[in-house]
């Protein structure tokens, strides 16, 4: 897998796929997509980058430990569920606000935060497994 072409193309491919994964995550509420699929796309992107450039490069690129990312995602999802406490509705009730940014109405919701949490969990868990497997004996 160490062709020059692949090694050159991989970073671009990865960047594109990551961008696409975020797009898939955000459109998931009305179109096919969502946190789980977005997370899988992002994990594949990182896997491609890892196959091309090695594990250390991926670890450098994502800054945090992948399991920390997964943990943060779990926290984000839980917080999204707990937000309902402040408006006195049952746990996990979806809450929506519509702030106007630059004259455009942007629908934001606790559900979206929840979905982003799912995305992070999937990315983190799968990447950590893949990286751990890809790592040759302890550096």
């Amino acid at each position: 897998m160490n062709t020059v072409i692949f090694r050159t193309a991989a970073p671009f491919l990865t960047a594109l796929m990551l961008l696409f994964s975020v797009f898939v995550l955000l459109r998931g509420h009305n179109e096919p997509g969502g946190g789980f699929i977005g997370g899988l796309v992002a994990a594949s992107a990182l896997a491609i980058y890892g196959i091309a450039c090695g594990v250390t490069a991926v670890r450098r690129a994502i800054i945090f430990h992948p399991l920390a990312i997964a943990g943060f995602g779990l926290l984000a999802s839980t917080v999204a569920g707990l937000l309902s406490v402040f408006s006195g509705v049952p746990f996990m009730t979806g809450l929506w606000i519509y702030p106007h940014l630059f004259g455009v109405e942007v629908p934001l919701s606790s559900v979206m935060l929840f979905d982003a949490g799912v995305y992070l969990v999937v990315v983190g868990a799968i990447t950590s497994i893949a990286l751990a497997l890809e790592e040759r004996e302890v550096e």
């Binding site: 179109e31 699929i37 994990a43 943990g71 569920g81 979806g94 919701s109 559900v111 751990a132």
Partner: protein
Amino acid sequence: MASVTGLTFLALCLPFLGAMIAPAAVRHLGHNAAWPLALFPALAFLHFAGFLPDIAAGHSVQDGFEWVPSLNLRFSWLLDGLSLTFALLITGIGTLIVLYSGGYLKGHADQGRFFSFIFLFMGSMLGLVVSDSFLTLFVFWELTSITSFLLIGFDHQREAARRAALQALVVTGGGGLLLLAGLLLIWQITGAADMSGLLRAGGALRESPLYLAALILILGGAFTKSAQFPFHFWLPNAMEAPTPVSAYLHSATMVKAGVYLLMRLNPVMGGTMAWEMILPVFGGMTLLVGTLLAIRQTDLKLKLAYTTVSSLGLLVLLTGFGSDDAVEAAVLYLVAHSLFKGALFMVAGIVDHETGTRDITRLGGLRTAMPLTFAAALAAAISMGGLPPAFGFLAKEEIAAALAQASPWPIVLTIVAIAGSALMFAVAFAVALKPFIGARVETPRHPHEAPPLLWLGPVVLAILGLAAAMVSGFWHAYVSSPMASAVSGKGMEISISLVPHFGMPLALSALTVLIGVLVYWKLDSARFLMAVVLRKLGPGPDHGFDAFISGLVRLSHAVSRFLQPGRLEIYVTVTFLCLAAMLLVPPVLYGELPAIPSRPNMQWHEAAIFLIAVIGLAAVVTARDRLTAIVSLGIQGFAVAVIFLLFGAPDLSFTQFMVETLSVVILALVMTRLRLSTADHRPPLQMLSHAALAIACGLGFGLLLLKATQEPFDLTLTAFFSHYSKLIAHGANVVNVIIVDFRGTDTLGEIAVVTITGLAILALIRIRAGGERKLAANDPDVEEAMEVERP
């Protein structure tokens, strides 16, 4: 009445409050913290004493509050003659014990912790005796087991203490589980979930066909707690605990919990054939075994421990009798025993504390050095030996009267009781006289009279034992009679006093004393004789316990080895076998196989995709090496994903694409990581069996799907979600809205699982990376195996 309810609840909480502040109090005041701390049980004692006139008038107090109303749980208490007497004993003796501990553990580094444990135990025990509801009764019952574990193992540096603590916990805690089963059974039979309701239910329990089962379960709980033969061995071992614990738990309170339970249930369970057979037999056995073993001991505490065992046996025997006299005798003896045994234990502790030894053969002539202690010991021993003018005498007289008119085998039981009492008499004076009279013997420490904190307890208890007998009329009116009424379930008046009534009982008492004096006189030869006999008998139940525990460990190892052989192949095979069985067996059994569909009308592109899937499968089967097989399996997965796409499930198909891709990548990684050989070399037979299993699973799923499509489809949910998804969740993608909104909590659980899976896999890979690591917890070199790995 609300204020009384609140106050009673506060009184029940006082010990727990004491447990909370004890460590801080000891830090600031040292051992003198005992004085303020003793206020907690003293206040509780005063509160409960306030109920005395009411109870003596024949009422009972039943109160409480809703605890978990939705589960029908009440935190309720029942105060009648029986539970009130116990509550007073627990709080009263508890007060003295707290003071005594202050002196006994003076300067001990962990004194604060010790006070905490004692208070926790006191609270549990108090809760146990006043509980009305079965569930609170059980909770407190087990709490006393746990707190006694902490107290017995207080000196946790010593292995003997640890073993004794564990043994007590296993025996009494295990008995507690039997008790739980028994209580649930009684609940089932009578429909009463609390004691007061059960007492009102009357004889329903006795007539039930399940009566015997309930009785055996309850007795299992009571006999383990009250150290009846053959469970008596844990009590002497519990002498590893500091002396205040022995005085409190193993004489006055905890070990009486079993007797309390039997007395409490006597009105509804007693009087039957089984009750009057089992209780006297076991009680009598315990009585004899305990006293004979007591004769053999030279350690003051162990002597007392064995006599405690036999006293408990005597109480069980009397409770099992069921005659009015026997109930009265049991009630009198229980109170007398708590008073004198608590005092004697504390005396033993003082002797140990002041001289540095508890060995009866190395003590003598202490009367000049410790006059006060000697006086207390003597008074307590008079009570234990059943001599006037002590309360023990009244109890003994009553016991003799009860036995003289026993209905089944009176002679046997009388002989047993007299032998037991005589031996107890001998032991009592051996403990109370031997160390104090005779010539002065050199001891490790130079003895002085103990400080007030230490002598207060035994002196008060000894005086009480004498005073109660002097004013027996008053005492009976307030304590004994209400308690006897509660035990027998009908009004009773106890009138026995120090004035001896001539006749059979007095003759029996005299005989008892005579034998006792004889044994005391010949104590050394009696001890020698017992030692010889015991050697002849071989190992006792204490060894049995060890054998039981090691057998249990061996059994669990064997079971683990059978269920968890540690070979992935076996796990996977078993899993798929179960899956195939689950999918195939029910439809065949119930004749629910789907109808074979007519030839499907496929479009050409659908047919093409189907063909691709089949080619992929063929490639998997014929692949030379594993990597090719894995990638070929991906082909088939992609084909399925395309089919999903064609039939209107874009989300699903999208996910399927990603999962297939990642599976191939990760499987390939695992292969290289585990350095598996690239070729597949299973023997043909194994190949066949695996193929059969795979086909069976596939067939099962295929049939299931066919069947599902042939059933009439219920569109309720579909309609609901398509209607409301836009309306209340503001989303058009129904599948996704269900995942993140309608069923969000499920998804939260699932992503938690995904995270944990990631963690677990990482750990597994790390362990492999670290070479051959041993992770067995019982490995001696586990220390180095668990060294933190440098990333």
